[in-house]
Amino acid sequence: MQKFTQLSGIAAPLPLVNIDTDMIIPKQFLKTIKRSGLGVNLFDEMRYDDDCQEIPHFVLN
């Protein structure tokens, strides 16, 4: 097993303290036992407006 020292990738800054589990993925999207398909709802409430349109200035959009 290789020692974990470094992870390289694209960083998306989200300068907030207390990023809670309901922010990361709201619980209404957790009615699945699969481990895929959840990405579209990541940070859902910060990412989409009331009409389910992407909010342009959110870092993941």
């Binding site: 300068p15 907030l16 303290v17 207390n18 809670d20 589990t21 309901d22 619980k27 409430e45």
Partner: protein, 178 residues
Amino acid sequence: MVTWGTSPEDVLPITAAVPAADDFEGGKVGAAQRSLDYMDLTPGMPLSDIKIDTVFIGSCTNGRIEDLRAAAAILKGKKIAVDRAMVVPGSGLVRAQAEEEGLADIFKEAGFEWRLAGCSMCLAMNPDQLAPGERCAATSNRNFEGRQGRGGRTHLMSPAMAAAAAITGKLTDVRELM
């Protein structure tokens, strides 16, 4: 003790006032401002002036028989002054015992919905949800943004404090009703 913000750590005595973002340091300043905006609260406002629309007592947290006894002791002979109030026993056994002890009748006579054991309004995965802007006194264990429904505002407190809020329609020091 009641929460004013959107994390369980944002908690103050009921006799305190809503804090200002400047009362905090570092990254907490922005977090506090975000909480104040989400909760629609003004710094300096006494916590006991905050009006409540809905009261939610119980779920797995604070749904023990002792919790229901504490809330019922405050509610006995009183009527609710909020739009809706519900009590959700922590289990079927607790529910049966509460009915045997007469607690269920006290809740129902006060205007509470006497519900089956379950998650209910703790986490908005079912139809028991807050509308945007609706303010709730809850005995569950999370007050995150959107926890009880998108845009819903949650104040966490003990069952006795939630019962007091149900009677007066605002956050209330339960000691004034004892």
